[in-house]
Symmetry: C2
Subunit: 200 residues, 2 copies
């Protein structure tokens, strides 16, 4: 048997390979890097992992990430509770926030409808959405979902469901992405941009 | 201020970004992955890190990785102590082992001579090499160093130093790598392959 890494290093490589986007070579390189650290970096990383594992949860109201400090969105009294932006994932909240254009609150579904993956309406946070629209007197629901098949299907489902209530339902515009020439746009994007054209 | 990740998640991203080959996007993706784990994966990774941090050291004799189990090379009584293979890094031991062609022991220098990076002979494990050659009655030292400038310089230094002792000193052959056509070989590799040509 040729010599291999010590057992504790092999175990670390196994754990590192579970991370998204980390293959066998990257995991080995990271493990070797850990061995050579002698300044507390590994202990700091381990402590940061444990803290996230123990402290971070999803806000029971909006579904965004919270730690012991509470929900940064729901606790912000400067936000307009009558505007509610529906997104698929907690990280989508950050994407909208980075635009600086939205000052309302969010509702994270935690997924999207997908018959292929067995995700039905009761599997995502739709009940909570209905409750919040009533309790917060929401006036407009912005559906900020993905523009792929599942995102569109989820949007249609929610638009139909919410259409029965006295709430305005809007969705993100579809069209040409910023900075791209026509030669880079796929036919579906270009078709939607044509159909939704506006006065110049 | 737009909403960002909770503080504990931002701290984890900072720690993950220190890892080799991990940029800001990968670190964020990994941190989000950790948040969504609910099956103990994060605790397992954290424990594996702590174990490597606490247990893994370099063998005081050969310089390879050891944990509580001791050195897998030095404790192997089936190895020929009269053959000593000198490498730059602990991971180089694994590369040689994977060939299955060497049944002696190793001496890891832990670096290579580099005037540019201020690495002098006293900064790498050369003293220990001299002691082992005498105490183990080593008959052949194989210099398995990199074929770049620093590796070659380190090899020349060691060959000259060991030339004064009654020990045979060899180095890895240089030439065409396996599986490559001539069109992929750089001029220096091809020149060395020509100069070291052998009878067919």
């Amino acid at each position: 048997m040729p010599v291999d890494f010590p057992e504790s290093v092999r175990e670390l490589v196994v754990q590192l390979r579970k991370l998204p986007g980390i293959g066998p070579r990257s995991a080995e390189r990271m493990a070797v890097w850990m061995i050579h650290q002698r300044n507390g970096s590994v202990a700091q990383l381990s402590a940061a992992l444990t803290r996230v594992d123990n402290e971070v949860q999803l806000c029971s109201a909006c579904g965004f990430f919270v730690d012991h400090g509470g929900c940064a969105v729901c606790s912000d009294t400067g936000r307009d509770v009558r505007m509610l932006c529906v997104v698929e994932q907690p990280t989508d909240v950050l994407s909208i926030e980075r635009t600086g254009q939205f000052k309302g609150r969010y509702h994270v579904l935690g997924g999207r409808l997908s018959p292929l993956e067995n995700v039905a309406p009761e599997d995502i946070r739709i009940d909570g959405l209905n409750e919040r629209i009533i309790s917060d007197n929401v006036e407009e629901v912005i559906l900020a979902l993905g523009s792929d098949v599942e995102g569109e299907a989820t949007g249609h489902y929610l638009a139909e469901m919410l259409g029965r209530k006295s709430v305005k339902v809007t969705r993100l515009a579809q069209g040409m992405p910023a900075g791209g020439g026509l030669e880079h746009a796929d036919p579906l994007t270009l078709m939607r941009a044509l159909n939704d054209r506006r006065d110049a």
